[in-house]
Point group: D2
């Protein structure tokens, strides 16, 4: 059980690109990174495309005004000159800028933590992976929901055969906030439906990459063999960017699956649902109530597994913070993955490959696979919702 004690010798000096006052995402990075003040300390930032606003914001967070920069290039250059310069940067900007900022950061000798979807093309991912290896740096991808520790319970249940042979994955991440075409509904989504900024996809990239990664976290042995994607733009002006997508999957072991990603599921308030179905039992997670799992053994009473209880696997309870009956939420999920990023960086910096090998966190491979997921879905959809190899 975590209680805020340090897992690494010293906090990393950390900066952000983006994540300023006008959006929500930056706060999630900060509560993740700074949870216990033993893994990261925020010392610099290029928080905003509006430099003044960014400086005001950073100062309000406690960053030295002189280290609130107008843009990431200046930040990387200036910080490189300092003895106490930044060691790691988080990128929370629109998708289309991830690649160039990541590349610049690695070249500036920084570890990188980047929003999903990582880049637009797999080739970019492969290139960056190579660069990171050369530079000896970690890339972390903020699949922010994947830190809920009950997902690790599911992973362990799958590994230990509690469910029997895995037959189906039923995956869903939907909401309805873009159901209508009003200005307010679209304001914060504007760039997300602009292919130049957001890439080839809207909800497939913005939403389903999370769920896809979570399914891989739970079932690391299950590989998609082929898939079929049917996507729609119910608000016509969004086309070809989809606001709804259905995917069918065939896995290599004979399992099958479905994914539903949507921002037009009107009124839906329980976003993620992940159900893993085996020959003996099923287990289901919803991020609407991340403190419990539904565990259904065929022929037995359905059970609720409650976060923090001693009957859970050690791998799950290792990330426990508050204790059973004390609800954790998305903040703890982000804190859990940021803490693992720090542990990974520290191991990398110390050359501790053993730790790295055993650490489960969303890194560059998860980022690349996410790109592959999106692009394969789009390919299938654009060819008329047909089966394509994964």
């Amino acid at each position: 059980m975590l209680n805020g004690e340090r897992l690494i010798a010293k906090p990393y000096r950390w900066a952000m690109v983006g994540g300023g006052r006008t959006g929500n995402v930056g706060y999630k990075h900060r509560i993740g990174a700074l949870r216990d003040n033993t893994a990261f300390e925020l010392v610099a930032g290029a928080f905003d495309i509006d430099a003044e606003r960014g400086k005001d914001f950073g100062t309000n967070l406690g960053v030295d005004p002189s280290r609130c920069y107008a843009d990431y290039k200046t930040m990387f250059a200036e910080e490189a000159k300092r003895e106490d310069g930044i060691q790691v940067v988080s990128i929370a900007t629109p998708n289309g800028t991830h690649y160039e900022i990541t590349k610049a950061a690695l070249e500036a000798g920084l570890h990188v933590i980047c929003e999903k979807p990582l880049f637009f093309e797999e080739e970019e991912g492969i290139e960056i992976k190579k660069l990171a290896e050369e530079k000896g740096k970690i890339i972390g991808v903020t699949y922010g929901f994947s830190g809920h520790q009950l997902l690790l319970q599911m992973r362990q249940m799958v590994e230990n055969g509690d469910l029997g042979e895995i037959r189906m994955l039923d995956l869903r991440y939907t909401h309805g906030f873009n159901a209508t075409d009003t200005e307010s509904a679209n304001a914060s989504q504007k760039w997300r439906v602009d292919p130049k900024v957001a890439g080839k996809a809207f909800v497939l990239g913005d939403i389903s990459t999370h769920t896809y990664y979570m399914s891989r976290l739970i079932c690391p042995e299950l590989k998609v063999k082929e898939l079929l994607c049917d996507r729609q733009s119910f608000i016509k002006s969004r086309a070809p960017m989809e606001d709804n997508a259905y995917v069918l999957m065939h896995y290599e072991n004979g399992a099958v699956g479905r994914m539903w990603a949507s921002s037009v599921n009107a009124g839906c308030m329980d976003g993620h649902r992940i159900r893993i179905i085996g020959s003996k039992a099923s287990v289901e997670f919803s991020d609407h109530q991340p403190n419990e799992l539904l565990y259904e053994i065929q022929g037995q009473p359905p059970q609720k597994l409650i976060r923090g209880m001693s009957y859970l696997y050690d791998e799950c309870n290792a990330d426990e913070r508050l204790g059973a009956l004390h609800t954790e939420g998305l903040g703890e999920s982000w804190a859990n993955i940021y803490l693992k990023f720090a542990v990974a960086m520290d191991a990398k910096d110390r050359g501790d490959e053993e730790t790295l090998k055993n650490l489960v966190y969303p890194g560059i491979d998860a980022g690349i696979e996410g790109i592959h997921w999106i692009n394969t879905c789009v390919k299938s959809a654009d060819e008329g919702a047909v089966w394509v190899k994964f």
Copy 2:
């Protein structure tokens, strides 16, 4: 609100073929038909393939032993000789016998109530429809879940535009009772996975026809244009009869949909889920708790609509029996459709076409469309899970 008073002048003299002691389905027909003793009276039967057991059973139900017959042919012949002979027969036998019994019943001058799926081939349905018209008889199909009155609330909400334009139908009917291949799991399912007896499909026919009909009941204006079906036999010995199937649908108006039918969703205990998603709001039904609907208007608090309350549409409350807070279940659902069968027969017999036109119940067209659904799904699946015209 119904209180058991008669809706027709006199109960119909009613018989059953099948539905004997060794299965569960007959009891559902009987509690449906005999709910208030004003619509049907059970006067004869060929309840069992084992004539003695059938006679013992019928006698125990209160049927005159002399009218417990060894088989349906004898029953139709003998009853035809009586002044007080049967007027209507329910068929609750394995699928492969429905067509011939229905035909014989019509030719014996009887109204027919038949289990789903109605027949194997649409041509049979069309032929029987023609014969029923010639004979002036009603065919009722026992989509037994479709009598839950909150489905009529959904229908009215769709018609009145409460949800906005309909965009998606998310349909599911799954359980896990066939997840394992044990003898006990298979016993009562044996004939269901024998194509000669059950037809071309297992769960598509046994399960998804219910849900498909319910979706048509709720959204009568929405017509499937094309669909894609991916089916699996997780227990190999069942092949080619599927124990799991995914279907994607495109509707003529641009809406899309999904169906999931499964008997290997291990541990699942909340079978039906039907979610209708419009541009403004969604509404969702589960037969696990048929006394409430989830109504989610985008941007407003999710609501539960509770059976029996005065804020529901009159079309829904017309079928109300017990009053709000007093749970109804599957028995009331069957009673509601059987009552409508009786009203339809009575109207037919009286030549009251006005009543017939306005009465909503699963008749021959719903039966034929169910066959079409199954056969189109199987066609798509057998061609490699490709899109086929509906």
Copy 3:
């Protein structure tokens, strides 16, 4: 598992007093009694204080018009003259008339089924019990919710020690339909707040007697030693008849309990909640979803026990009708208790004391204890919400 086959040789000839067209309660009696047509047949009635309306109503139910009587006295007298006269009568009239009708029925040689609360005074109950014994007749009391078979699962769990030593009973039966003082809210309640018609209590009698009986059904060994009742009339015009009551209980074995009865719990739509807490585990029932129990073993995952599953006790599944996944509701609950009334009458008539001894149903003792419950609560409340011996 019940499937409608007869449990007694021949249905009882049955009549009703009250239960006519203008209320809801009669329909519940009829669906209970007539569920399978093997236990009762409705042959006569004095359904309504308005004789013509009652005759019209009875005729519509299928009763011979000549056996639709103007009042119960005429009915008992006339039926006594027939060879095929009634054998049992159900009384569904306002509380204040129960005693005289029951007495007349017994004296007319009938078995009696009576609405709760049985009478106003225990002495009346004791007198009637003696009379029933003399006459060799059964008195059944329609605690209509007590037929949900999962209550028998709870009873068996308690008996078998699954919960450990019983420590607490948390009992609730509340709704909000009388929260406001509008005419419509009060119409059907008018007589219920008139002490001359309803007795000394409103919700204590109308509501909490159900829950009290159900707690006794589950925990037959637990006897209340003393209790304290605090009652309120939030709508002043109802005073002294309470629309809300809290009760604390001390049991003889050291267990404690609470009861909350209310018709002013605004908006509440899940009436009954019964939680039995032992030293090892708890089990909880709500009639809002009578198809499942919450079973919570301390230190283990909470479970849902689902109606109809083979892991339930035989004593519970003996009353099963529709099969797991197929919802049962209040109709089945009434059918279960009416069926037991028939079995009890039949055993009584045959002198089969063994059957009677083992049969669990709400009889005269449950009726008397219900009166004692109400009157002791009222006594405590009227003395200032103090502890009184039970």
Copy 4:
């Protein structure tokens, strides 16, 4: 909406007494205080009764080893000598020490944040209140669940009359972790059932004070006039310290209420339930799912109010951090109250009485009323569960 920007000019220099490695409570204080690093910074501590372990622990949290003290007296003395000495201290030690540490802290010129129950006797509270006023310091009491912002939604709904006139408060805080008498169940509870360390009560003090304060937060105008408490020690060795207690309340305005506090509610995993019932509607909170409220208007469909949605009152959304659909938990609740402590201290230090007057947080009065609650309950129970003036 909060995004981590500073609300006060500079973080307070903060220390802890207690809250070390061997318990859970300290982590909650730290995640509360340090959430955004703009309200508090942890600079010193006397974390543990074992000085070495405390120093090791503090160092691991990032505290300068030289400021990890062996005991609070040393800390107050040494820190007073520093220019950058501590300004505020949190007390997370067993109950019996709160009074002396608080007094010493105030005399050392510190603001104080203290665990509940504050002290044993009201007189102590009154004395400390006077001392705090003299010293110009704030006392905050960590009713850690009271920071869930949906409680402020409830408060506003009550104030605005959405529920009508308040009639009932149904309060519950129960769990089952002390249901059994095993060593492991008792280990961390040992001091809690020792009157010398814990005071006169176990669950009344440890648990129900939270819920009582939350009820006062929601309904500030409702004052208890008299109450009756019935307490039990189901594990005999705990007597006279109760592991279960029932309380009935009469409020000055005619409302009534119930409280149930228990640590022997076997298997219960949804601790808090607070239902406020008015003449028109009810609203209900459970800390098991603090992201939603059940809102039930009589005669309308029950609603779920979801955290973060714009239809909530501004007073509620002012504390919003993560945005709708993104779950918050107990960590955010603690962060919210700690932030308000900081704002209160800052206002006090600046002499800004206007801010102080309008700020809603659990201060010294809430602490004193908590003592009064416990002691009045114990008095009632010890006199035989009788009504006593509050």
